[in-house]
Subunit: 495 residues, 2 copies
Amino acid sequence: MNKPIDELKNRLQEVDDLEKAGAVLNWDQAVFMPTGGAVGRGRQTATLERLAHEKFTDPVVGELLDAIDPVADAEASLLKVTRRDYDRAVKVPSEFVARQVAHNSAKYQVWEQSRRANNFAAVQSYLEKTLELSREYVDFFPGYEHPADPLIDISDEGMTAATVRRLFGELRKALVPLVAQIAEREPSDDSCLRENFPKARQLAFGEMIIRKYGYDFDRGRQDKTAHPFMIRFGSGDCRITTRVQENYLAEALFSTLHEAGHAMYEQGVSSEYEGTPLGQGATSGIHESQSRLWENQVGRSFGFWKHYYPKLQKEYPSQLGGVGLDTFYRAINKVQPSLIRTDADEVTYNLHVMIRFELELAMLEGSLSVGDLPGAWRDRYKETLGVTVPDDRDGVLQDVHWYYSNIGGMFQCYTLGNIMAAQIYAAAETNNPTLSDQIEQGEFSRLHTWLKENIYQHGRTISAERLLQQCCGGPISIEPLMSYLNNKFGPLYNI
Amino acid sequence: MNKPIDELKNRLQEVDDLEKAGAVLNWDQAVFMPTGGAVGRGRQTATLERLAHEKFTDPVVGELLDAIDPVADAEASLLKVTRRDYDRAVKVPSEFVARQVAHNSAKYQVWEQSRRANNFAAVQSYLEKTLELSREYVDFFPGYEHPADPLIDISDEGMTAATVRRLFGELRKALVPLVAQIAEREPSDDSCLRENFPKARQLAFGEMIIRKYGYDFDRGRQDKTAHPFMIRFGSGDCRITTRVQENYLAEALFSTLHEAGHAMYEQGVSSEYEGTPLGQGATSGIHESQSRLWENQVGRSFGFWKHYYPKLQKEYPSQLGGVGLDTFYRAINKVQPSLIRTDADEVTYNLHVMIRFELELAMLEGSLSVGDLPGAWRDRYKETLGVTVPDDRDGVLQDVHWYYSNIGGMFQCYTLGNIMAAQIYAAAETNNPTLSDQIEQGEFSRLHTWLKENIYQHGRTISAERLLQQCCGGPISIEPLMSYLNNKFGPLYNI
């Protein structure tokens, strides 16, 4: 007979094996699968997902959680987090999970076509069904304050619509004047990024940098996909993907730095949590803080490029040999209200997120119908960013999130991540006053070690809130982000 | 309530999904996985394998098989084949399967190192354990005539040690004089294959040919691995791998043609059998007949190269521009007793297989200990092929089979495949008298269609024996292989 704690761990390991097998199938689907594999693959991943849910919600897991008297700290965390996940999972019937998986899989295929054809009408009924399913999910968790709360809780445990709304309101108030001031200045010229840059060198250059960052290629790899992502199969195998444009240097480079930030987090989670719900990053927001920190606070800083720009010029002498560091730095930090979230600069990016977040809430509240969504999207882009959305392809169809998952809880993590990245980076600077000098030398090991110790290693044992408290000495706050943006973009735009 | 036949199919589909998910994980492990992923991956595939076995051997499956009254032919086949698999699977306890999977996984790692280090002693105790496990497996099937029979039955259903011994005895008697006669002649010169051939073009050339063969890249792909293989994730996704040597043109080329033969078989299985035990090739021997037919009967024929050699010369003008078709044809068909099975020519290849088959039987019979295996290997190579084995790396450690699976039943399929390839090709020629003209034109569609209709589409609905009977009008026989070899190599070596 196993001890109950060992029996629990065995069962959690089995669930984890099924989930990670599903992740490998998803990775293959995005990276290498031939088109003919789609039907079989959809079924295989659905089976793995269903079995993982069945195994995790087995009543025996609940009985074990009740029976175990935690004797060590690590066990207490394991029981607490598993109990939360379990209580959430058992509220959702397997029958609902199966319906949702099937719907999302069908919807995703339709979205791909409808996006290509710029035809929102083709996917509208699927999205209406998604709204129904999202509400049905919410109803499994009575007692919420806002219907988005149970959905936000999936990825950003501890956050609510009210908290996010308050934070986003403050941030918007601070951002809008900055955007307006920049709009009055001479726009930056980023044409130097739009020469012809052979792809293999772009990839090699990005990989050289993330190796220096500390991404371990013996426990990961990078491949090319339509949409970049990071995926964890275990602490020994955390992969990233990127996409490369021959005529735009910033695409592959910053996506690589971004995804490497996610992957270094996962590679740094203590291996003692492997195979349990603790063995992954804390929340989506904290995760995004780690990717954005390496992409932006480090990777778009002037000091960083003081070190790396001469090396980049050597790779592309005819394209960049005559372009000065200052011009290049302005190009990669060009601020301009635009259509596409993932291409947005650090200043306007969060406005894209807020638009999506508010549209999600409005749909869940019932004040916006799915049929009116494309129009509402265009109105908000005009109003918030002053941008005219020419078509739905680059409007309401641009992001995959609503088309592979829920309406609600899908976007707040990006701006929460930006806010926390600035807080955490400020704390890292306080702890390590010569950090900017190290970055100018292309030296990242002290920063990486500090992040491992303070963030990565803990996995899900510490909540996002407590992690931030421990690391930065306070709760989430927009001040560090705003002072980072003001200090960086003020001088850049003579404000 | 589902009808029992639908309930059975649902359960079989779930088992198939788990097995195919395991296949994707194995493929990734061989092709792309970073070294750090090994531990987690071993556990994940073991979990999938265990769950598939548990689900398939669920007593409800047996009850459904008892309860269903087949109404259609396809159902009768499904019930018959599933019943056979089920009866075999339930005899093997899950506990044994788990022990065996764990042992094989550990053994494989040790083999890789011990092969690299040319150190048989390091893996000997693992192989001794394998012999024990293979005997333990055999004991689950009392009533066999020879202990190898239950092991042979796993991959070549219907075959027994006695039948294989008889066939191999006849073949050996016919082959030995041919090998001796060739040995008296001037050896062919294959130095034209050993120039420098840039790898990308080698791969592209092989892929161009298999596309013409009929391999569907929309339902498959080719990657590079240490050991070439074919793997099926479903009828929509049957992949192959190859390996390329810059200094040896025959390696990638013929491995690609070989694996494509396997994959075209799997791509051609009727999709109505998808997700059931019927949805794959009949036996390992039949499978090998299909790979060898496209590799050898087609791909090493003179007519084939009359068409393709000028194209190959265009790819490598400096290496092959001055080499005549006749010289090239002799080079790719050079007969020479050698050390390595996978590199062996068509004449001596089967002697390699017979050595392994007899060693397996001797170990299972108890007349040969694992400790004496390396010596017995060297003795038989000297005696049978006249070759001195210089070390265990290129001796008893060369093939992966014993090191990832059983002792017993591992090798007979290769020679059974060669025998049946010749029978089936002769039948194809009878049916299609201008076949050789078509091949000289680089036209394969009639042959491909005939194989689809007569072999591929049936999956496992028809036994190997009946398939051969239907296709060739008789039971397995070595005559067609011997007359193929005599007709081909007689003129080549002036015999």
